[in-house]
């Protein structure tokens, strides 16, 4: 393969009914692109946790997927409250999730930590009252 695949999906804040749909769509795309199981799983988890964070905390957001020969790049951008203390938010167990989010089994404070663990490169930036931006890179190894 010597092409670059791109896909951009919108995610609506507060829409818990559809939570996970964007991630499942991205996972299907990656499967069709013959991405290895292990890399597919890491990407799917990182995208899923990112999608849930948009739905849980932001007004709206976008997941931009770019797949080339070397890596899978996921850019997650949202418009929302932003994160005041990123270091604190990254800590496993830290969560401001509401009761509603917890009832669905989320809000354990493991999301950003999981995303980072699944990534080969991870960057997070956020501006309070503007939004949050995640850059997630997962290497494809020799999986061409």
């Amino acid at each position: 393969m010597n092409t670059t695949y791109k896909k951009s999906l919108a995610v609506e804040g507060g829409n818990f009914d559809n939570a996970g749909m964007a991630s499942i769509e991205i996972k299907k795309i990656l499967k069709d692109l013959n991405i290895h199981d292990d890399i597919l799983r890491k990407t799917a988890i990182a995208v899923y946790e990112s999608e849930l964070n948009i739905i849980s905390y932001a007004r709206n957001g976008r997941i931009n997927l770019i797949v080339d020969d070397n890596e899978i790049s996921i850019d997650v951008q949202d418009e929302g409250p932003g994160i005041e203390d990123i270091e604190l938010a990254m800590q496993p167990g830290y969560s401001t999730a509401t009761e509603h989010i917890r009832q669905m089994g989320f809000g354990a404070g493991m999301g950003l930590y999981n995303i980072k663990s699944c990534s080969d490169r991870f960057e997070i930036s956020s501006t309070v009252n503007v939004g949050t931006h995640l850059k997630i890179i997962i290497n494809r190894g020799n999986n061409l």
């Binding site: 818990f16 009914d17 939570a19 996970g20 749909m21 991630s23 499942i24 996972k27 199981d37 799983r41 799917a44 988890i45 899923y48 946790e49 009832q103 669905m104 089994g105 989320f106 809000g107 354990a108 404070g109 493991m110 999301g111 930590y113 999981n114 663990s117």
Partner: protein, 126 residues
């Protein structure tokens, strides 16, 4: 063991799934009611044991390529959860056993955890 044997051992109802699913070999499982923990620790090709019945459990199982969802404590998932499981081709079992008993019965039959403990990568018994 096969998923069919799992159904027998747990005296479970197969709420979603067909004969072709029952032949699938199962080796590992993960029990949790926190989906973020499932995402952090479960391996693909495992059983997910949980007391949650929301559609998000099915999407979590799908993201992880789980073999099946086992709903414990006799809970019946709502229709939208079952419909989604059907669409995403995730078998769903329901058992009256509590989570501890469900896990114990599977373990006694050779199924082990996806990971043995935190810090270890794989289960040494695999």
């Amino acid at each position: 063991m096969t998923l069919g044997e799992v159904v027998k051992v747990l005296d479970a109802k197969l709420l979603v799934g067909e004969d072709r699913h029952l032949a699938i070999e199962v080796k590992t499982a993960f029990s949790a009611d926190l989906m973020s923990d499932v995402l952090a620790f479960a391996k693909s090709g495992s059983l997910i044991l949980t007391g949650l019945t929301t559609p998000q459990v099915v999407r979590t199982a799908s993201i992880l390529d789980a073999i099946a969802l086992i709903i414990v404590r006799g809970k019946t998932p709502p229709q939208d959860t079952l419909k989604l499981a059907h669409e995403l081709d995730i078998p769903v079992l329901s058992t009256n056993y509590i989570l501890f008993e469900t896990s114990g019965r599977l373990y006694a039959n050779g199924i082990v955890g996806c990971v043995e403990k935190i810090g270890g990568i794989n289960n040494s018994k695999l």
